[in-house]
């Protein structure tokens, strides 16, 4: 328990250091850090609509974060969640505007196909990772670029409305994922995200298969001696991660945009990966970190309006936090254990 408290305080200290560095960066772009902070807070939580705006931004980050947690637990880096999100988003949109179905069924079909698209998009990197140990970090990152370009191609060259903006036709209303409240685009995706996070938590802590995954992440060799089929498990874990990433895209398109366009989701996949890393691969912790990043994103919208700072300043802060935390955890670990059972995904 004591260990846990010291770990948490270390994490907090690292975040403080990162924020201090962030303040310096803000000063460098000639803005008052306090003003930026207050604007961020106001933008994220200033009134009920803004709070829901924060939740709206949190939803895709949370689901992508869960997707990242699933792979990180097994010691795998699925950095391609961004690409899976794009494929899923397009897949769900396609179902949404091409077919007529009864309302609930339509949403489920869209989300199901989105998850399948994400799964299919990660299948090749997953196969090569499982079978030939092909580095999944690089293959999934490169796949991101391809996914973004392919969905743009499909949107603009195949499905673009004549004379309209560069986006697909809107989805039918039967495919809309219902909103939580009438005055915001925040939708049931948030609930799906929370259920996924809690479900993933139970899977990892309460089931034998989940334990096997954690074991593989902690020490693959030991897991193999213990009789776990590493190749099979790697493959299916990556697929599961990709499916959740695709689902995140489906929820974005059916719940928020109701169509697909270029720049569909600006970096939610990467934010999800960072949120999961910051939570150390813990799905419940990812709820908190995703909310944190969602608030940053939501606040940054006001930041762009009210100050001269650009909203990308928050990605600088995010990166600084990850860097600070990545250094800090190791300092603690060195003191407490002798790198036995070292986890690949640990910072």
């Amino acid at each position: 328990m004591n260990d846990r408290i010291s770990a948490l305080s270390g994490q907090a200290l690292a975040i403080m250091i990162a924020l201090a560095l962030g303040a310096m960066v803000i000063l460098a772009v000639s803005e008052s850090p306090l003003h930026v902070l207050l604007t961020l807070l106001d933008g994220a939580f200033g009134n009920p609509e803004r709070i829901l705006g924060t939740l709206l931004q949190t939803t895709p980050i949370l689901i992508c974060g869960v997707a990242a947690c699933i792979s990180l637990r097994g010691g795998l880096f699925n950095i391609g969640i961004e690409g899976q999100l794009f494929m899923g988003g397009f897949a769900a949109t396609w179902i949404g505007f091409s077919f007529e179905m009864p309302p609930v069924l339509h949403v489920m079909a869209g989300l199901g196909f989105a998850a399948f698209a994400g799964l299919a998009w990660v299948a090749i990197p997953a196969f090569f990772r499982a079978r030939y140990q092909t580095n999944e970090v690089v293959s999934t990152i490169l796949a991101n670029y391809v996914a973004v370009l392919i969905t743009s191609y499909l949107t603009i060259n195949i499905f673009k409305r004549a004379g309209g903006a560069p986006d697909t036709p809107p989805i039918l209303e039967s495919a809309y994922l219902p909103q939580l409240f009438s005055f915001s685009r925040a939708n049931w995706g948030l609930v799906i995200g929370l259920v996924l996070a809690i479900g993933a938590h139970f899977f990892f802590t309460r089931t034998a298969r989940g334990y096997a995954v954690t074991e593989m992440g902690a020490n693959p060799k030991f897991a193999e001696y213990g009789g776990i089929d590493i190749k099979k498990q790697t493959f299916f874990l990556m697929l599961a991660s990709g499916a959740v990433g695709g689902l995140a895209g489906g929820i974005e398109s059916l719940g928020v945009h109701h169509r697909f366009m270029e720049g569909f989701a600006p970096g939610f996949g990467f934010d999800g990966v960072i949120a999961a890393l910051l939570a150390n691969g813990n799905p419940l912790g990812t709820i908190v970190t995703a909310l944190f990043f969602g608030a940053l994103r939501s606040g940054s919208l006001l930041l762009e309006v009210d100050t001269t700072a650009s909203r990308e300043i928050i990605t600088v802060i995010q990166a600084l936090i990850i860097l600070a935390v990545s250094a800090q955890i190791l300092v603690r670990r060195r003191a407490t254990d002798s790198s036995a059972g070292e986890r690949r995904w640990k910072f």
Binding site: V273, T308, L323
Partner: protein, 330 residues
């Protein structure tokens, strides 16, 4: 036939060399870290930051050469942070590399807005590129002259660096140390080589070349800076590094493959193929090459086991150059 002639000519070779140069520079830089046993996914960010500060330096000093130095210095700073966290703090190299990439992306956009008040890209503002080098007598050499003359200096640097890199790894003490640290850290330790010092050196050398690559991108290849203008070249370089294992010759081959696919796909665009599909070609080639050659990237343990088994049975171990039958299993 006419189409083929329009597709394949000297201009295509020139275009290939031009598109190869930036990725070659960054991949050569990455060979230092790869050979020293560090997986450096942060190349992308170092290149991007190098490109940005090369432009900033040029605008504020008026000289592209000072800009070049600024770009290299910025990439070096990022490389130093990478080494500090990975080597000294032993943080996870993938996490640190990704975070630094994100940092570089966010920082360049933020500074772009803070300094110029714009988003997207900057050009003008007195920005001048590196001068084009014309080799004397190139005109008299016909198509060959056309092929070798008229590039910006860093293109020559990139290609001339390849033989130097080969010599560096084969003949110099530092090159040898880097290889030992990467391949057999225990042996390096036993020899009294400081692993940390070598890995720092490798990371910083890598930063220099990544910075050159970035500067080439914004001052040679184009004369402007655009948001995320490295556009995955650093990641492609990492893919090349994985299947080349940091060997300069194979890096050159891999980079030429990308340069060629890039140049060829740009030509396809003039034939009316969708630009989105055209832009995807280099990434698809990178992925295909990575998967096709991933057999080589099998974990060292398996290779070592094979080698020791071979020794035990006094059979020649399978060499990397000729894939053994095992590679062809379904």
């Amino acid at each position: 036939m006419e189409i083929l002639e329009r597709m394949f000519n000297v201009a295509l070779i020139v275009a290939t060399l031009r598109t190869t140069a930036p990725i070659l520079l960054v991949a050569l830089g990455g060979s230092f870290t790869t050979r020293a046993g560090i997986f450096n996914i942060g190349l992308e960010g170092q290149m991007l930051l190098g490109a940005f500060f090369a432009v900033i330096g040029t605008i504020f000093s008026g000289s592209p050469w000072i800009g070049l130095l600024c770009g290299v210095a910025a990439a070096l700073a990022l490389a130093f942070i990478f080494a500090l966290l990975v080597v000294t703090f032993r943080a996870n190299e993938v996490v640190v590399g990704l975070a630094l990439n994100i940092l570089a992306g966010g920082m360049t956009v933020s500074l772009l807005k803070a300094i110029f008040g714009t988003r997207g890209s900057i050009f003008g503002h007195g920005l001048v590129g590196l001068p084009v080098l014309r080799i004397p007598f190139a005109k008299e050499m016909g198509w060959f002259g056309q092929m070798i003359s008229g590039y910006t200096p860093l293109v020559y640097v990139a290609f001339l660096a390849v033989p130097l890199f080969i010599l560096f790894y084969k003949r110099t003490k530092l090159g040898l140390y880097i290889r030992v640290v990467g391949e057999k850290p225990e042996a390096a330790e036993a020899l009294g080589i400081s692993i940390a010092k070598i890995r720092y050196t490798a990371s910083l050398l890598c930063g220099v070349f990544a910075g050159l690559a970035g500067a080439h991108l914004s001052l040679g290849y184009t004369t402007m800076f655009t948001e995320n203008m490295s556009s995955g070249r650093g990641f492609m370089a990492v893919a090349i590094l994985i299947f080349s294992a940091g060997d300069p010759k194979r890096i050159l081959a891999g980079c030429l493959l990308f340069g060629f696919s890039d140049a060829l796909s740009l030509r396809l665009q003039t034939f009316g193929v969708s630009s989105y599909l055209v832009l995807a070609v280099p990434y698809v080639v990178a992925l295909a090459a990575l998967f096709a050659l991933s057999y080589r990237a099998r974990p060292r343990i398996i290779q070592e086991t094979l080698a020791s088994m071979g020794r035990a049975l006094s059979v020649k171990p399978p060499s990397a150059a000729e894939p053994p039958a095992l590679a062809r299993e379904p």
